[in-house]
Every structure is written in structure tokens, then in C-alpha cells.
Symmetry: C2
Subunit: 236 residues, 2 copies
Amino acid sequence: MTTIDIDRPLLEQNDSDAAALRRRFDRQRVFVVNLMSSPGSGKTALLEATLRHLLASGRPAAALVGDLATDNDARRLARSGAPVQQLVTGQACHLEAKRIEQALAGWNLEGLEFLFIENVGNLVCPAEFDLGEARRVVLLSVTEGEDKPLKYPPIFLAADAVLLTKIDLAAAVEFDRPAATAAVQAVAPQATLLTTSVREPGGADGWFQWLLTERSRWLAATSPASPLRPDAHSHE
Amino acid sequence: MTTIDIDRPLLEQNDSDAAALRRRFDRQRVFVVNLMSSPGSGKTALLEATLRHLLASGRPAAALVGDLATDNDARRLARSGAPVQQLVTGQACHLEAKRIEQALAGWNLEGLEFLFIENVGNLVCPAEFDLGEARRVVLLSVTEGEDKPLKYPPIFLAADAVLLTKIDLAAAVEFDRPAATAAVQAVAPQATLLTTSVREPGGADGWFQWLLTERSRWLAATSPASPLRPDAHSHE
């Protein structure tokens, strides 16, 4: 089978574009999170709740959202009051760094604490495309089946966190949580495993806390004075 | 954005391979159904129930099942007693006709009434790849959200049927059925809209009936004597 998603020159160009984006995000102190999942795993619902929570906490946040067609998600997310831009991809099953760069051309990122990129709903294609993000998060709803990490490993391999979403539906779908946990740990032992529900009060608190903690870590690691920063002594 | 899935020579080669497969299926009177959906929409559960039903009705049926990794689905489907083969695609987000041809190389299709191809779980990539099937079916679970046809139109455009699966969960997820119906009709007016549940007795009867009816229509249309058959007078 031809693996058409692995087009080397395309990926190398994307890696280069993503590296430039990452330098910009580092300089402007914007913590960027790339949200990936199947269609219908609850990315938009969680992101809407997240934007509301962050804005209510006085933390400026914005979002870019990718879909093949429609601006339904951007309109939905804009209800939070956060700046949101829809990226319509036509036939493309993922976002690319160049597209993020173009979308942000007119944006002033100064003062923004969080930028979320809601990728195209797809458990395969987005895996290979670095968008300059600080953290990669994969959502998996309890309605999708426990063995998805085993069946779609590439996207889980580089995840910083895996969110089991719609946990309020676990009983209705007879979700086998130990099996799902084992599948995530087998494929993505590096990832923090969190559960979320946007329908239960406090159901996303662990996720909100993770975002704040990871942003603090990232700020420390990318500080111009940090010994952890790879280019701390460059003059770029 | 580069639309990497639209690689013209690759698609033309696939179309040619698919046409050869379709001639073979026509000659051998095997009704082939290509099942497509997001990961976790319930393709495997519905297919397992379908194979059991057809075999119990004395109708020979078999399945090919695509996944990036594991043979979990093939093992699950084989419990039905039907011949099943797993196609592992590695990084590829869809199946191609050449891969189907290779998988069937050792198979004797004579006497088989139904062959199901469970595509890789993906609501984008499989749309462009003809597999020689007689019918294309897209599954959409009620947990995925009502507007998916609007947001992922290409795969719905050529669907012969759209199945709203896991209908037993409709109340738990506050599924808005009129909105989903309107979205399907807006994008895929040509498709028959069916609901299924593999957890409710008789919950897939409409789907089983559709399969029998469509197979009869296809048999009539592809009969060597049929005036509907495009190549009825060729000597290929």
C-alpha cells in the first residue's frame, strides 16, 4: 500500500515552518496546544468549556479550528468570547504549519496566554504534522471503544496527554476503563491520562489544572534565561 | 494548504484497479459493500451482527477489514463464522483497490453472496478511493454530533446509504435527530437514511433488509442479459 501521507519533502517543509512558528510562540510567550481526535470525540465542546474557564479566570486564550467545510465550530467557540478563526481545509485531512502561520498573520499574540489549535477530526493524518505547538493532546471518547490506541498508534505516540472524554457516558456504553487505560499505557506511556466530562460540574477540572501546570513548565523551560532552553544563547 | 490526498496518478491507477475488481465481482456475482466512518462509529459491531444474520439466513458472506495496526477486528469478526481477513495499513488512512485485489488473490469468491470491506476508520481519506464496491455505506454514530455531514462532506457525497448507528444512545447524548436528518439530506440527498442499534432486538433489521433489496437490484442491473449493464455487449 502506498503511504501517501508520508511525503518527505512536504514533511520537511512543514517541520521547517513549524520550527519557525515555535520560535515565534516562544518569543511571544504563547502556550500552544494542538488538539487531535476522531470526528465527534468532543474537541469543540471541551474547547468551548476551556476557553470560557480560562477567560473567566482572567487568562487570555484564543483558538484556531480546522474543518473540511463550514464555520460551525468557530461560531460555536466564539460564544466563549475568545478570538477564534476557522480554517477550512477542503479535502485535506489535517492542518499544516504554513496554514497556521497564514491564519496568524494578522493577529497580535502579545498578552495571549493560551492558543488552542483544534485539528481536523482525524485519528490518522494530523499525527505527522508539527504545528509548532508546545503540547499535543489526543482526545478519545468513551463511545469510541477501548482499543483505539492499539489500532491507531501513530497519533498517540507523541501525545503529551490523552483525554478520555464524555466520561459521563461510560456506564451507558459499558466502557471498560481498565482496558482503555492499558491500551493508552501500552502505546503512549509518556502521556498523562486524564478524564473529562463537559456535562458534569467540575468534570474538566483536572484538564484545566493540567493546562496551567504544563504552561508553567513550558514557561520555565523556554525562558530566555533557562538552561533547559536549547537556543538560550543564540542571537536569533 | 497542500491537498496531499489528491494525487492524480495515484487516483487514476486506483480507479483502473477498482474497475478491474468491479468486473471480477460482477462476473462472480458477489455483492460488495464498502463500509466507511470515523473510528468508533460502530462498523465492526454492526458488521459482526450482519455476518451472523446473513450466515444464519443461509447467505454466504465474508469480510475484509482495514486498520493501521492490530488484527483485533478480524478476530472479533471471525467469531461470526465468516471468512475474514485483516488488512494492516501501517500509516495509511484508507484502503486502496490494489490492496483488495492482493487480499483476494487466494480466495474463491464463487458462491459468496456478500463481501464487506470495513475501511480504515476515517471520515476523510477513504472517500476518494474506489474499491470496486457495488454500494458505499457511511456510518455516523449518534455520539458524534449532528453536523458531521456538513463538516466532512466528501465522504457523504457518494454514499448509497447513511446509517445513524448506536441509536439506543440517542437520548443519553441528547441526539437531535431532525438536525442530523437535515444535515444528511443537505449533503447526501441520494443516500438512503437508516438507523441501527446492535444492542436492541431487531435494531438492525432495516439495514439487513436494505442489503437484500440492494443486492437484488444490483444482480438485476449487472445481469449479463440486463439492458442496464453498461458492458452487457462487450466480450471482455
